[in-house]
């Protein structure tokens, strides 16, 4: 017998545990333990959501026994003739969409201006402004929500509702726009603008005719990122809502434990599709520009490395 055959023999006759160890523990083989662990993690992290989506298509009322395929729970959102029609679902969807669509342009304009300003402005105050911009990213939402609630109620004397929610959403979105735009700004560098200005254009012209076209992918993708984070937001929306401004996350929060039926899953599925769609668009736009730049990495990898 050759040594290989001996090894094979031992392998075959080894008890199950030994073979398992051989499978996972071979230091020269593939890191199988890590690979199994990673796939288990991915299944664990995604399966519950997939199951929740599946039950939005349930023919019955249950959220744990699948009784056949049906779209009745989607009809329950908008079809008044449906027997399960719930008149609170469509307003929540509308409110979420309204807030996200209004937040997009305002936050993008403010954020792009802030990003360009901060990247090119070398005077006093730039450092402080930079810090100010980063702060909303690390402030727990409850602190932001509570502080805005308190100032609206006590100083600005602002009725809580859609406008207050919009102001809140813009406030936490600005920083994301700045981060995305700034990354692109650093990649572009100052050369093109300097060249334009050397050729006699003013900073305003250089901005309009050189910088903004170059920034277009970043601006467009931050547009979609703002949509996604706005539509997903719960805490700020809830703190700044009094009546008639229930968004989808607020609806899920208040109904999940008690009044839940598959129509809630249907609503949540719509929200998830909307935000995944807008993020996919954002990533695709960045990817197009990346191909042109030829960094060799995919957009997903860049995103994961925070290099968008």
């Amino acid at each position: 017998m050759t040594t290989a055959e001996v090894a094979l023999e031992r392998e075959v006759s080894a008890p199950k545990v030994g073979r398992l160890r051989a499978f996972f523990g071979n230091p020269w083989g593939k890191p199988r333990f890590l690979s199994v662990w990673t796939w288990l993690y991915i299944i664990w992290s995604i399966a519950p959501v997939v199951i929740a989506v599946q039950f939005s298509f349930n023919a019955g009322r249950s959220r744990s026994t699948f009784q056949g395929f049906s779209t009745q729970w989607y009809e329950a959102i908008w079809n008044q003739a449906s027997e399960n029609y719930d008149d609170t679902l469509l307003p929540a969807l509308r409110q979420s969409l309204k807030l996200a669509l209004l937040t997009m342009p305002i936050a993008t304009v403010l954020g792009v201006g802030l990003a360009i300003g901060l990247a090119r402005w070398r005077g006093r105050g730039a450092g402080a402004a930079n810090f100010l911009m980063l702060f909303p990213l690390v402030t727990p939402e409850i602190v932001m929500g509570a502080s805005m609630f308190l100032i609206f109620a006590n100083l600005y004397h602002f009725r809580l509702g859609t406008t207050a929610q919009l102001l809140g959403h813009v406030t936490f979105s600005i920083s994301y726009v700045v981060i995305v735009t700034r990354g692109r700004l650093f990649a572009i560098g100052r050369d093109y603008e300097e060249a334009a200005m050397d050729l006699g254009s003013s900073p305003a012209e250089a901005l309009r005719r050189v910088l903004l076209p170059l920034l277009a992918p970043a601006i467009l993708s931050s547009f979609f990122i703002v949509f996604a984070i706005s539509i997903d937001d719960f805490v700020i929306s809830q703190f700044l809502c009094a009546q008639g401004c229930t968004t989808i996350p607020i609806k899920i929060y208040s109904a999940a434990r008690n009044a839940g039926n598959p129509s809630l899953n249907a609503l949540a599925t719509i929200m998830m599709l909307l935000s995944l769609l807008s993020i996919t668009l954002a990533v695709l736009i960045l990817r197009r520009y990346n191909k042109r730049q030829g960094t060799g990495r995919s957009a997903v990898e860049d995103f994961a490395r925070f290099e968008i």
Partner: protein, 313 residues
């Protein structure tokens, strides 16, 4: 700049700050000033009749009655508030630890051994990042339902096991704490893995090869090269998830909805959203929480600023 003509230089001086100004003003009015409102309400008084808060905008008029009362309540060992503070600490500590143990191998595997599947693995890893937190909690609410008429899928699966004889009550006793921690880990782990992956992916392979060439075993290469080099990523991930976890109130409310599982965030939510007259107390609690996590926030901001400076120099 030397090549630019005089009036362009003049325009440049104000042009860029002017571009940034609207955003800065917006953040000052709707982000910084509101912070001051927390203090003004916490250190203010209350209308005796309507129990509406009378904020003290002038720091000279600050009164510390409500704030000290709240502090005393936190310091009283039998108070519910103190229990909530301790519970928050324990939940956050355990959740971060579990995120590290579960997440590190995942980030490591994708960064080092992703191979041809790297983009797929990354996409799947990032996907939960972009699903609404509430949607993901709803998924678990369904799975862990204890309603007699519609028991959740989790118990059905567990009952198939030979050693499980009765359905687990997810919302009672010790199990309820585990349920909340499961919710927290599930909710926040993507935010932990991502910066960790970024740190691991940046490690130069030649350093690992050097370690192996010099005779280190794979294990000691990991302990003495990879782990120290990924320390920044671990810390960044831990801080990123710790901050929102300290202010969380929706996870315990969705996962168990039991007073046994409430956190500091629930006390704030109750005081501010629950009813009239509690605003000063809610503001005082928010202030306490902010002071508590300020250290973490400043640490994170300083390290981000330093990293950005190094990256763009």
């Amino acid at each position: 700049m030397a090549t630019a003509t005089g009036d362009v230089v003049g325009q440049r001086r104000w042009y860029y700050p002017a571009l940034a100004a609207p955003g800065i003003v917006w953040l000052l009015l709707l982000f910084i000033l509101p912070f001051y409102a927390i203090a003004a309400v916490a250190f203010g008084t209350r209308d005796q009749i309507f129990a509406l808060p009378i904020p003290a905008w002038n720091p000279l008029e600050w009164q510390f009655g409500t704030f000290t009362a709240t502090l005393q309540e936190v310091a009283t060992s039998s108070s519910g508030l103190q229990a909530q503070f301790f519970r928050t600490l324990i939940y956050v500590a355990l959740s971060v630890a579990i995120c590290l143990v579960v997440g590190y191998p995942v980030a490591y595997y994708i960064a080092r051994h992703g191979g041809r599947l790297k983009v797929l693995l990354l996409t799947l890893m990032i996907a939960p990042f972009w699903m609404s937190y509430l949607m993901r909690m709803l998924a678990w609410v369904n799975l862990l339902s204890v309603k007699p008429d519609d028991p959740g899928l989790m118990n059905r699966i567990l009952l198939l096991l030979p050693f499980v004889h009765e359905p687990v009550s997810w919302t009672v006793g010790l199990v309820s704490h585990l349920t909340v921690i499961l919710g927290l880990v599930y909710g926040y782990i993507p935010f932990f893995i991502l910066p960790l992956y970024a740190a691991l992916d940046r490690i130069d392979r030649s350093q690992l090869e050097a370690s192996r060439d010099l005779g280190a075993s794979p294990a000691s290469t990991f302990w003495r090269v990879t782990l120290p080099l990924s320390k920044q990523g671990i810390l960044a991930g831990a801080v990123i998830i710790t901050l929102p976890m300290f202010g969380d109130y929706y996870t315990p409310n969705l996962m168990t909805a039991s007073p046994e599982n409430t956190m500091v965030g629930n006390a704030i939510d109750f005081a501010l959203n629950g009813g009239q007259g509690q605003q000063p107390k809610g503001a005082a609690l928010t202030l306490l929480l902010s002071a508590f996590i300020a250290v973490l926030m400043v640490y994170y901001l300083v390290s981000v600023a330093r990293a950005a400076k190094e990256a763009h120099r």
